[in-house]
Amino acid sequence: MIRPLAVTLIFAQLLSGQLALGGSKEFEAFVSKAPCIDELKASTSKVFFNQTWYPLMISRPRQPLIPGFAFRNTITGNGYQLFADQTSTTLVESKLNGDTISANVWDTRKSCRLHSSDYKSAQFKVTAPARSRGMAVFNDSNLNDLLKSSSWGVIYVWSPFMPLSIEGIKEIRQAMTEKGKGKLTILVDGKANIKAATDLVEKGIVNAEDIRQVDSPELLARGVALHYPSAYIYKSRFLSNRSYIGHKSATVYSKWIDSEIKALTVSLAAMKEGK
C-alpha cells in the first residue's frame, strides 16, 4: 500500500512544476509538532518532505478546521495534503483522472505506523461546467503546455460575476504590452454564467479566446475561485502559488510582474542549488 505512494511521490517530484513561495517556516513548525511524523516520513519518502508546501485549512474529524499543508503537481494534477491534530498525522493523496478524483488517505491515528487498516480510499466525480456544455476549458494539461510554451507569462482570470475583473482586462493587457515580452493568458471563472460571458464577447468587451473556463485543479488549489480577477505569474515552467487578486491599474500590475519575476528567479536559483 505504501510503496506505490512513495514511487508516485518521487516521480511527482521529478516532474514537478510546482513552486510554492513562503510558508516554509510555518511548514517546518508544523512538521516539528506533527505526531508520528518521523514514521510517516520513513514510510513514504524523505524526498516528499523536501517539497515546498503551501498552507491550507482542512477539515478532519473532531476539529472543524485545522491548519494543514498541501502540495500539488502541476503536470499530473495530483495533489497531496498533510494535516495533523494532537494525536495523529494524516496524509491524503488525490489523483485526477478524467472527471473523477480519487482520494487515498493514510492516517496514523491507530499507531505511528501506516498500516493498511489506516488506509481509506474513495472517489467522487467532478464535472466541469464548461465540459458539460461543450465550452472550451483550460485544464492542467493546458496549463502544463502553457508553462512549457514561453519562458514567462501571466495568467489572468476574470468572471462575469465581478465587473471590475472585466475592467481589469485592459489594464493587464496594457501592462503586458509595455513589458513587450511574456505571454498573457486570459481565462474565465470555471463556474461562470456562460451566456453572460459570451454576451460580453458579442459586445466586443472581451475577446473570444478570453472565455476558456478554468478547469484546472492547480489553479483551484491556488484559490482562483475566491475572488476575481486573480492573476498568477509563471517562469521557467514554474507557477507561483501566490495569487494577485483584485482590480489593479496597469502601473500596479507592471510593478507586481517585476516583483514576482524577481521572487521566482531567486526561488528557482535556490532550488537549483538544492537549498
Binding site: 482520494a103 488517505v105 454564467n193 483551484l220 475566491l226
Partner: protein, 425 residues
Amino acid sequence: MIMSKSINAIKCNCLRKTLTVAMSVGALAVAMTQTAQANVDCSEKAASNAEAHLMPGAGYWMQSVDINHITYTSVGGISSYLFNLETEKLEPITRGMDAFPIPPGDIYVHPTGGGGYSFYKMGDGETAKPIFNDTDHFGVYQAVGLLPATKGPKDRVVRVSAGWGAGIFQDYHITTLEDGTYDFKRLHSHPVQVCRNLDTGGLDTQIPVLSRNGELIAGRDTNDQMTKIYKITNIHQVDAATDTEVADCEEVQTIPTETSKISFSFDNKKVMFVIADPITGKGRLLEMDIETAKLTTLSMPSEDVMYMTYRADSSLRNDDRLLYSRRTDAVGVESELILIKPNSVAKDDDELARPLEALGHLWGRACGMDLDTDAARAAGSRVNQNQCDELLNAANFASLPAEYSDLQKDQIQTLCKLSERAQKN
C-alpha cells in the same frame, strides 16, 4: 423571474427520491446514492427559518441595507441592484457598481466612474443625482463603517475606506437637516493612508474590508496570502505642507489561509468568509470569532458558496441571520440567495457540540450522506423541530454512528428545543 420559497414549504421535496450527492468528507470525498427517509428534508437548505431567493444575476458582491434589503452587483456589467427580501422584488437604484449602504440605510456610496466617490439617497431611483461628491477620495472596493462618534441616525461620523494604492480612508460628518437634505463635511484634508507602519508599507491592496464601527480593517497579505485583521490606530500628520495624514495598524487576528473578501458582523466580533475546498474547489462558508479565532463551518457540504454578508436589524445590531449566495447549478446560470439563522446555542457551547454533531449525522444518514464532523455540526445546526422529531424516531435513531452511542435521545431532543427557542427569540 424571481422566486422565493420558504424551506418549510418545500419540506419533503426529496421524499423517496433517489439522491446522488457528491460531498466532501473532510479531505476525503465520497459519492453515494441512497434513498431518503420519509419526512426528512434532504435539501441543502434544510434549515429552520431559512429562506431561499433566486435573484436575477446575483453574484459575488452584496451588502445588507436593512432587515429587508440588500444591494448587489449583477452579472455581466457594472450594475447595482436593490433587492427587497420581503416583497421579493427589485427596487430602483442607481446603476453604478458596488452600492455600499451607509447605516441605517437611507444613503449609499458608489465609486464614481473616472475617480472619486458619489453619495446618493436610497429610494431616489435609477436616475438619482448624487447628494455629495468627493473627487479627492479615489479607488474601488470601498467599505463603510459608522464610527463611535456617531450620535444617531441624523448625526453620523462615517468612515469610507478604499482599496487602491496601499489603502486609504476618508471620514465624513454627515448631518441630516430638518428638510431631509444632508450636510457632508470631510474630516481630513485628503484621504488618510492606512497601515503605513507595517513592513509592507501599507495595507495590502487586495480586497480590504472595514469593520462596521470603522475601527478594524482587514485585507489579504501579499506575502503570505493570509487574510489579516488590523486595528486602526494613531492617525497623525506626516507632512504639514500637504497636510498628509497616515494611520498605524496593530494586527488583531490572522485567518491562516487564503480567503475571499470577509464580512464583519454588526457587533464587530465575528467575520465570515469563503475558502476553497482543498479538493473540489467549492466555496465553503466559515465564521471566525475574532478574539478566540474559533472557526465554525456554516455552509452545507455540497454547497458552493460565492459571497456573504451579515444582516443588521433596524437598530444596526446583529440580526443573527446571515445571507449568502451560492451557485444553483454547475453552470452558474443563476445564483441563489440563502438566508439562515445558525444555531448559536450549540455553536458557542462545547457541551452541546456532540449532540449537535449526532443530530447532523442522523440527518446525513437519513439523506444518504456520510458527513465529517464539521459538516455534521453545520447540518445539525440547521435542523428544525419537526425534522428533529423525525430524525429521533426509533428507525432513524438506530443509525446514529457508534461513537455517539453514549448520547441519549433526550439529550439531542433538548438541543432541538434549545435551538428552536433560540431561533424564535
